[in-house]
Structure formats: C-alpha cells, structure tokens
C-alpha cells in the first residue's frame, strides 16, 4: 500500500524527521487560507497529491491546467489560489503513472525552503542479500535512475540491521560519502536513525526521501517523502491502514480485493481467469504471441471458497470489454472442482454470453470436468494453455 506525500511526512514527523511546514487543501480558497498558516510570507510550493514520483516533470492532460507540472512554486497568495484551481480535478501524467495519469483532488501547500544542497536517500530491501539497505547519493540534476544506470558506483549501499539501530561508524560513512559539512552530523544521525526505525516500525517495504535538503545551518529536511507499506503487515497497524486512499482504484479492483483476489485491466479483449501470477503472465505472453491481448485478468490463487470464486469469476463475466473468456487453472491448493462450481454459480447470475474455453489440470480435474459437463453450459475444453488460446481466438473470430 502506498500513501500520499503529505501522509508520509506526517508519519515521519513522529520518528523525529524534520519536514517543511505544510498543510493539505481541497479547494483554492482552502489553499489560500492554509498558506498563511504554514508561513507568514511566500514563496510557497504547491504539490499535487497523487501516488507517484516525478510529479515536477509531469504534465496535465487538460489545457486549463497550464503547461507546468504537478509541483509549482508561487510567490503570493493570489497565485496560491489560482494555481491550485488549475490543478484540482485535472489529470497529472508522470513517467510512473502511465499514459492515463491520475486525477488530482488535493494539493499540499508547503513553505518554500531555501537549501544549500540536496541528496537522495532511500531505504528498501535487497532481495539478493536479504537485508535492509540504505541507498544514498549526491544527485545534482535530480536524476537518480540515470546515475543508477551509468554511474552505479556513485550510489552508496549500506546494510542496516533488523534492530533499528544505525551505528556511529555507519553515520560517519554516509557523512564522508555524501561530503556533508560537519555541522550536519547530529541532524544526519537523527534522520537516518529515524528512517531506520520508521522502516521497521511501520512495516515499510520502501521509504524514499528524494531529495533531502541541507539548509545553511546544517539542518536536514525531507523535502519529499514516499512510503510504501507492506500489505501483509497492515494487521499490525490498524491506524495506518486507515490512510489507504482507494480513489484511484476502479470498482472491479476493489471488488476483487474484497475476495482476496487480484484484478488487472489491460487493453485487449480476452478475459482471463487464472490461479497464480506466473500463470497470468504466461497466459498473457501467449495471447500477445498470437496477436491478441488480455482485457483483464483475475487471479483466484488461494481460493477454496466456492462463493468467493463465483464472485471473482462474475467480475470477468460482467466486464463489457470481454469478448471471450479463458480459464486456465492448474489445481494444487486450489481445487478444480470448486472452480467448476464457481463457474456455474457465476453463469447462473451473470449469464455466459461470450465463448469460454476452459483448461483444467491438477487437483480434482476429473471431478471438475464431470460437474461442468452435467451443467450443460456451452464451455469448450482444452488440454494445454496453447490449445486453450488457439480455440478461444478461433471462437472469438467466428463470433464477429
């Protein structure tokens, strides 16, 4: 689960991390009012709150938003209101949002902070060493990815322990690597220790401060903040779970999540029902190879409840963009007979108006075949996933 910048900054404050003064606003009038609360004078920074990085270099789809990106520097209160008005309700596209972009419905109004220099700081998991790792780099042009590709040696990797205690030696190492002035030492200690404790304490999967600003007095400020939290650990953090903002998730995704399944939309016309991410990926690869593509897929992995399975299948059956359904199940934990029961229940409610090809393999496959054959639903059988894709595409062609 990702949270917004303003939420992340609020959370990090509790771990002793300094952030510029800021407040959230939902209307231009509100933005103008909170501006004086965060600072008695300008300039202010207006930051579109969508869950994405690279907002500064992003652009709005609508002309009324103007040509500037999702981060705007303004000098007076009138501009606070007018620029907020331009962004609200419009769609911001960044390299991380995809071409559809995300609608901005709140603006974070922040006091502008003059800084001497800035650097990148990130905490995440190194999957090879299985350790928590701190990443740090001086990035004058702000392009950390360019550095990762062309000058990876200029990025510090430092393993952190699972206790939440960063050693003096490690702090010194970061000081030296980033060539930070001496007076920043106590501030760096507080920042790194705070992030280290926050990562473990919040059950985060990533915390990124891009950038950290160094003020003339040596203070370190988190000018931006991104936090991704571990969905599997939210049960330990009921307070944080309430920060979830689902406003940019569509109804089908939310429905699938209710049954603990995952649902994804794509641009093709085949609805896929599978039980596993790998199977979803390879099914999509096959469709692509045959010149077609998925409209959507639902992954019913772990499903052993007939009603939940039926509801999951209904999400695919009721998607108007689906012109054919491909059901590819390799039963292990998931049992094919329960999926068969789910198909019948879903078809009874939603109707089966498009061709459906089914490929069952594994646990209780024969039972599943018998159940569906007895139901007289017009399903088409396939033995392999290639055969399933071929048969379905042929049926869909014939239906046009």
């Amino acid at each position: 689960m990702n949270i917004h910048e303003y939420q992340a900054k609020n959370v990090l404050k509790h771990f002793g991390i300094s952030v510029p003064n800021g407040k959230i606003a939902y209307t231009p009038k509100e933005a103008s009012a909170v501006a004086v609360e965060v600072s008695s004078h300008g300039p202010w920074v207006l930051k579109a709150q969508i869950q994405s990085g690279a907002r500064q270099s992003g652009f709005f789809l609508e002309k009324s938003a103007g040509v500037a990106g999702g981060i705007r520097l303004v000098k007076n209160r009138r501009a606070v209101a007018s620029e907020t008005e331009k962004m609200l309700g419009n769609t911001l596209v960044t390299i991380q949002t995809g071409p559809k972009g995300k609608v901005v419905n709140k603006i974070y109004v922040e006091a502008f902070q003059k800084v001497k220099k800035s650097f990148y700081l990130g905490l995440t998991i190194d999957r090879i060493t299985s350790e928590l790792v701190l990443l740090a780099a001086n990035v004058p042009d702000g392009n950390i990815i360019e550095k990762a590709i062309n000058n990876p040696d200029e990025i510090l990797h430092l393993s952190l322990n699972t206790l939440g205690t960063t050693s003096q030696q490690q702090i010194q190492h970061i000081m030296k690597f980033l060539k930070l002035p001496k007076r920043t030492l106590p501030h760096l200690e507080q920042l790194v220790n705070g992030l280290h404790k926050a990562f473990l304490g919040l059950d985060a999967t990533m915390i990124e401060i891009n950038p950290v600003g160094v003020t003339s007095s040596g203070e370190l400020l988190a000018l931006d903040a991104k936090i991704s939290l571990d969905d599997n650990a939210l049960f330990r953090h009921p307070d944080i779970a309430t920060l979830r903002d689902d406003s940019d998730l569509d109804e089908r995704k939310l429905q699938a999540r209710r049954y603990k399944f995952t649902y994804h939309d794509f641009s093709g016309s085949v609805g896929c029902i599978v039980n596993g991410d790998g199977l979803a990926l390879s099914t999509m690869d096959l469709l692509k190879e045959k010149g077609s593509g998925a409209a959507c897929f639902i992954n019913v992995k772990g499903g052993v409840d007939k009603d939940k399975i039926a509801n999951g299948i209904k999400i695919i059956m009721t998607n108007p963009r689906v012109e054919g359904i491909l059901l590819n199940i390799l039963g292990g934990f998931v049992r094919c007979n329960l999926i068969a029961d789910g198909i019948i229940a879903a078809a009874a409610e939603a109707g089966l108006n498009v061709p459906m090809v089914i490929r069952f393999e594994g646990t209780n496959k024969d039972m599943a075949h018998e159940i569906l054959n007895n139901s007289h639903l017009p399903v088409i059988w396939a033995d392999t996933q290639e055969e399933a894709v071929d048969k379905l595409l042929k049926e869909m062609e014939a239906a046009v």
């Binding site: 990702n2 869950q51 994405s52 990085g53 390299i95 991380q96 995809g98 990130g122 995440t124 998991i125 190194d126 999957r127 090879i128 299985s130 350790e131 990443l135 950390i144 990815i145 990762a148 990876p152 990025i155 699972t162 473990l200 059950d203 999967t205 990533m206 990124e208 891009n210 991704s228 571990d230 599997n232 650990a233 049960f235 330990r236 794509f266 039980n275 596993g276 991410d277 790998g278 199977l279 990926l281 390879s282 999509m284 690869d285 096959l286 469709l287 692509k288 190879e289 998925a294 992995k301 052993v304 390799l330 292990g332 934990f333 393999e361 594994g362 646990t363 392999t384 996933q385 290639e386």
Partner: protein, 289 residues
Amino acid sequence: MAIFVNKDTLVVCQGITGTQASFHVKNSLDYGTKVVAGVTPDKGGTLHLGLPVFNTLQEAVKETKATASVMYVPASQLKAAVREAVEAELDLAVSIAADVPLRDMLEIKAMLRGCKTKLIGPNTPGIITPDEARLGIFPVDIHKKGNIGVVSRSSTLTYEAVLSINRAGLGQSTVVGLGDDILIGVDFIDVISAFNHDDETKAIVMIGQLSGPFEEAAAEWYKRQHNKKPVIAFVAGDAMPFDHNMGYAGDILTNGYVSVQDKKDALADAGMIVVNTVSDITKALVNLK
C-alpha cells in the same frame, strides 16, 4: 538420489491439525511420503491421521528422528515455526504460507544465516520427488519419475513445466517451488547447485518471472561454474506492460528497470537454453537427447 527429499526422508508436519494441512498431509501419506509425526501446541499426546501429535517440534524430532518439516502454519506464526526448526537442527523446512510480512522474512533470513536448516518458501507449492516424497501442496497425479530437475518461482508454472517434461517422454528427479515473495528461502543458485551434484539429474528446467534480481544472480553464478548440467530457462511476463512502483529504490538496486528480455539475455549469455513459451521446453528437451 534426487535432491533435498527422498523416500527415506522422515518428515514432521508443523500445524498438522488444520483443515488444509489434514487434506494435504493425507495426500502426501498416500503418495508414500514418510510423514512420521505432527506438531500442534496443546494437542500433544493425541493422534491425527494416525500420526502421533506433539506439543513442540523439539519433542517430535527427538522421538522420531525426523530431518524435515512441512509447515502448514499461518503467516503470522511462520517466524516462530522457523525458529523451532532451526533449534531442532532440521535439514529442511518447507512453508506454503502466503502473505508473510516482509519484516518477519527479514528476521527469518537473519535467523537462517549460518545454519544448516534450509527453508523452501514461503508461498510455494513446496518440493516433490516423484514417487518418493511430497512436502507441500503439489497436485499428486501429474509428476513422473525421471532425470530432469525443476526449479521455479511461480507455483502454477511449475506444474506447467512438469507437464512439458512429461510430453517429451521424460520425468522429474525433484521439483522445487521457490515462491515469489520479495524475500525467499532457497533461491535458484541453491537449487541448481544441488541438481549439479545429483547423479540422477541430467538436465534442469528453470522458470523465472518478471521483477526481482534472482534470474540475473543465477545467470552470473551459472556462467562461472565449470562442471554444470544444461539448464533450459523460461521467464514469464513479456506481455506485461511497464508497471512502475512508486519510488526508485527498487530500480537502483537493479541498476535501472529490468525487463523480461534483459533477464532472458542474461540467462542466454550465461550459457542456458532460453525458450519463449513454457511448451517450448518439450522441444528443447527433445533436442538435448
């Protein structure tokens, strides 16, 4: 021979009395697996599926001399279960638990460092040596005894790979599901290395997928090996549109965004036989013969 488990491996089941555990342990017993005991706190002294149940793993291991454990404990209890397995000095622990918190895995990996206990999983179908031992949730009727080792990140594609091997008229020595969580127990290198040392295994099928650095690490390692067996590799996710996470940290660790093609190139460069669909595994195996 096979790797990690065979017909003589004595297996204990942690969390044996649950519904899913009962279903799958019964299947494993019918399959011929030497499951000798179960562990469920507060149910020690009882019998379940005809097996003695103990309160702790320590007691179960002391009484039965088991060397491997299959864990049907929920995600929230995995850390405690692995600690017990490490303390009992088991050779192998298999976890099928899904949704394990990352921080717990971070601590579990720290716990396993320098220990003899190997963890398979979590979030995996487990391990199966056809006709000998099944630890996990593999379908029972698709595997055939043979000389091809299988290792896969994806559960369902593991079954797919097995079917492709059968279609080539061959069978499997051992099949290992790594699981596809952010942190996993054994990885490609651990398993391929074991297959390289196993007389029964003649070739290896490896199934990777989009995201994570595990395929690249395996490629780099394989390239450096001298006595190695042929590896046929497939990587799923080519059709998946670019899906960026919110931050950059993940991409920094891989020196930029890594595509499925990048992974395939790395594996081919290391000398593996890279195929474009799972069913091409059949052809590649026939060509090897």
